[in-house]
């Protein structure tokens, strides 16, 4: 991890290379000089669905193409541009960096289903904040999963940030309370709170999350200032159900999508964005500390459509 980092786009493009090539290829296959008729549109819709964009978004893109160009000869490039435009159109307003200004300490809670990458994302953000001169404190709030506490502790060491922890099975809400208290006492400007992974259809686990948020508010009425939903890049349409349930339980304020360095296309992010208009802060394109990148709607959309920079 010591060599010079390439720029953002090339990293994202690298990460998305496989997916965009794949999508690009199928788009090319459909539209190398071809009349845009109903059959062609249906094929395009399929290709978009195969990128996890979901049926609705796929339909919107094809509708838009059909509006101006139906029955006309279209090139592959035009189709890609149009796709990128439509996707970028819905994502650009949501391109919002994580703004941690304001009241001190800023309290950030990470939520999501099991294995989506909450702890890793928290760790990466902690390292970043520390490097930018902030003084974060971490709360190992996943008191359920084996060694989750140890995992946060390792990130705490990497970031040079203290970690508030309790034994496994301890009350996560109480721990969050303690972390904020300690932050106030020791003048930390950020509190990053990890939570246990939970499937959104488990009522009792979602109740537990509500309790964590409630207890945080007891300590700081305006906290948590940010609740970040961490979405797995390989997720399909279930992302929508996840966003819905976590929004309801914990007033999610923004999204991070992880694991976009594999073959997954991340199209589910577009579905979530369309439906809930949630700000997108970062995307994760690797396991390294530097592999958390600010979200760029334009780059994401163009990479998804198989276009260069």
């Amino acid at each position: 991890m010591s060599e010079k980092k390439p720029g953002f786009f090339s990293r994202l493009a690298q990460g998305l290379a496989r997916s965009s090539n794949k999508l690009g290829e199928s788009v090319t296959a459909i539209f190398t000089k071809r009349k845009l008729d109903a059959a062609a549109l249906e094929e395009l819709e399929d290709a978009l669905i195969a990128a996890d964009l979901g049926a609705q978004t796929a339909m919107r893109v094809t509708d838009r193409l059909a509006k101006d160009r139906f029955d006309k000869e279209v090139t592959d490039e035009e189709v890609r541009e149009a796709l990128a435009d439509v996707v970028a159109e819905s994502l650009t307003p949501l391109e919002k960096p994580l703004d941690l200004g304001g009241e001190r300490p800023q309290v950030v809670v990470f939520v999501g289903v099991n294995g989506s990458g909450k702890t890793t994302t928290l760790g990466k953000i902690a390292v970043k904040l520390k490097r930018e001169g902030h003084n974060p404190i971490l709360a190992a709030g996943d008191t359920f999963r084996a060694a989750a506490i140890e995992q946060v502790s390792v990130w705490g060491e990497r970031a040079g940030a203290p970690v508030v922890k309790r034994e496994i099975g301890a009350d996560a809400a109480g721990l969050a309370f303690d972390a904020i208290e300690q932050a106030q006492r020791d003048s930390h400007d950020m509190v990053l709170i990890d939570t246990a992974g939970r499937l959104q259809n488990k009522a009792e686990l979602m109740d537990e999350l509500r309790k964590v948020i409630r207890v945080i508010k007891k300590k700081m009425p305006d906290a948590p200032h940010h609740v970040i939903l961490v979405l797995d890049g390989t997720v399909g349409s279930n992302a929508v159900s996840q966003a819905e349930a976590f929004l309801e339980a914990s007033d999610v304020t923004g999204v991070v999508m992880t694991k976009l360095d594999g073959t997954a296309k991340g199209g589910a992010l577009v579905q979530v964005a369309e439906k809930f208009r949630l700000p997108i802060h970062y995307i994760g394109i690797g396991e390294g500390e530097a592999d958390l990148q600010p979200f760029s709607a334009r780059d994401f959309s163009r990479a998804l459509a198989g276009l260069d920079g």
Binding site: R145, D232, S241, A268
Partner: protein, 512 residues
């Protein structure tokens, strides 16, 4: 699982079954709906195409249009096609563990797919069911505290764990694990690897090297059931590089549409060996294509429920209770034990998830009506606030005692009254059932009433709907502590005989 798909197909077939005769156009419409439903359920595109073609061919071949009940016919065709896609009928293939010990099982998959948790579950299963000596080894040198995670889980499931040597490479750990397995007489060595993306060349070569060094008898790809279209790509690539022998789908207890199961099975041709269905160490189910396909079509997962009941019911305790109840004795302590039993079976949520015809909406309705595990806990608390004497002889409960109990358990006196009334009704029913002799009590407490096996899933769907609609369902009976055959239906553990109160809700449910 598969709820959304169930609803979708349900909508299609409602339309079809509404009318007596099918036109060709109806079939086409149904196929289109099936296609969209499968796509929205995250089944990968090529798999959807193949499924729809199969369904179409069969539909045409069987001359659906002239069939007596075309809707039913289409349901059956879709069901059969899904069964085939999921690997066909027959006994689910277990693990291949024969060979010269130690036999290696290699776990591979993307980051966060659930490899470590699954490794521990598998270790527990193999040591308990196959009576083999298992060694767990973590080869994850990348994710912080991954090794400690498996170490802690190994402790929880009481299986040996290969000591951590910091700084050692994954392949070397694998070799060390095999040597340790051989020297210390282990039958099976489970190798948990780091999560990797399929296009990370270094990591994929590492995985290959591990496989070459350990010659695993089973190499399992662990995948998240919530995966979208990428399921195909990931499965294909891992299959190309590793000697995969089977798939494990995790997070099947989520509300994901589960299309990944269909997709991965289809592109690799590998059997789905297990399903991860909870975070707990025993949350690993055997896979059965027919059951899953039935579930996709809204027929519920009765087999799972029966299995769970049979597994979780404490036979001895049940026999003891049956004897007691035969004499017409069923005190509040017994009721409390039933609550415990129900909780052990995954709580009401877990059980309802397996009931046929029970979709997400109905589950939400049920929990909105207070029919959730909180209710169980509350009622348990009420009983726990009673003295042993009160539990044995509820008739001594007068106003002042009730007040004390209500205060002790944080409920109102009315809640206490409800519980007492419910108990009395149950006790009465049991007394009656007891007099009727066998079939009643023997079946009631045995965990699996006779006649369960031949139960018609369709009836179950209706029964469940009735139950939620506030009517007493008829005919079907549920496993667990329910009644024997020819008694009204009952939710498992909610008591025997007729567990429905006068208001039609299962006993224990607060009235609206």
């Amino acid at each position: 699982m598969f709820d959304a798909l169930t609803e979708r197909l349900g909508g299609v077939f409602d339309k079809l079954t509404g009318r007596g005769v099918l036109s060709e156009k109806d079939v086409d419409a149904a196929l289109r709906e099936i296609r969209v439903a499968l796509l929205e359920a995250d089944v990968a595109l090529p798999v959807v195409k193949s499924a729809v073609n199969q369904i179409k061919e069969r539909a045409v071949g069987e001359d659906v249009i002239r069939a007596v009940a075309p809707g039913q016919q289409v349901v059956k065709i879709v069901h059969d096609a899904l069964v085939d896609l999921l690997g066909g009928e027959g006994e689910p293939e277990g693990l291949a563990l024969e060979g010269e010990p130690p036999v290696a099982i290699l776990m591979a998959g993307l980051q966060g797919s659930g490899k470590t948790t699954t490794s521990a579950k598998l270790a527990k299963r193999i040591s308990e069911r196959h009576k083999k000596k298992v060694l767990l080894a973590s080869l994850d040198t990348r994710r912080p505290a991954a090794m400690e995670q498996l170490q802690q889980l190994a402790g929880q499931v009481d299986v040996a764990f290969l000591p951590i040597v910091k700084g050692q490479k994954a392949v070397d750990i694998a070799k060390r694990a095999m040597t340790a397995g051989k020297l210390q007489g282990f039958d099976v060595v489970i190798l948990d690897t780091a999560g990797r993306t399929s296009i990370d060349e270094d990591m994929m070569s590492e995985a290959q090297a591990i496989a070459t060094a350990t010659r695993p008898r089973e190499t399992l790809l662990v995948a998240d059931a919530l995966t979208g279209q990428d399921a195909v790509e990931t499965a294909k690539r891992f299959h190309e590089r590793l000697p995969l022998t089977g798939l494990v789908l995790t997070r099947m207890d989520g509300d994901g549409r589960g299309g990944a199961a269909l997709s991965m099975r289809h592109v690799t041709g590998l059997p789905i060996k297990f399903l991860g269905v909870s975070e707990k160490p025993d949350g690993l189910d055997a896979f059965d294509a027919k059951r899953l396909a039935g579930r996709i079509l809204g027929r519920g997962d009765i087999v799972s429920l029966v299995e769970k009941a049979a597994q979780d019911v404490d036979e001895e305790k049940a026999a003891r209770m049956a004897k007691k109840m035969a004499k017409g004795k069923f005190d509040l302590e017994d009721l409390r034990e039933q609550f415990g039993q129900l909780k052990k079976m995954g709580g009401l949520g877990g059980i309802m998830g397996m009931l046929p015809g029970m979709n997400k909406k109905m589950q939400a309705q049920a929990s909105a009506a207070g029919m959730d595990d909180k209710m169980l806990t509350r009622q348990e608390a009420i009983i726990l606030s009673m003295t042993p004497q009160e539990r044995a002889k509820p008739e001594i409960l007068k106003a002042s005692r009730k007040k004390r109990i209500a205060a002790g358990s944080g409920v109102t006196v009315a809640d206490v009254n409800k519980l007492i009334k419910m108990h009395r009704q149950m006790a009465d029913m049991m007394k009656k059932a007891g007099k009727k002799g066998r079939g009643g009590l023997a079946g009631m407490m045995g965990g699996m009433p006779p006649g369960m096996a031949g139960m018609n899933p369709a009836d179950m769907g209706a029964a469940t709907q009735d139950l939620l609609g506030g009517k007493a369902p008829s005919g079907a009976s549920m496993p667990g502590l329910g009644s024997g055959n020819s008694k009204p239906a009952s939710l498992p553990g909610l008591g025997g005989g007729a567990p429905l109160g006068p208001d039609g809700l299962p006993i224990g449910l607060p009235k609206k």
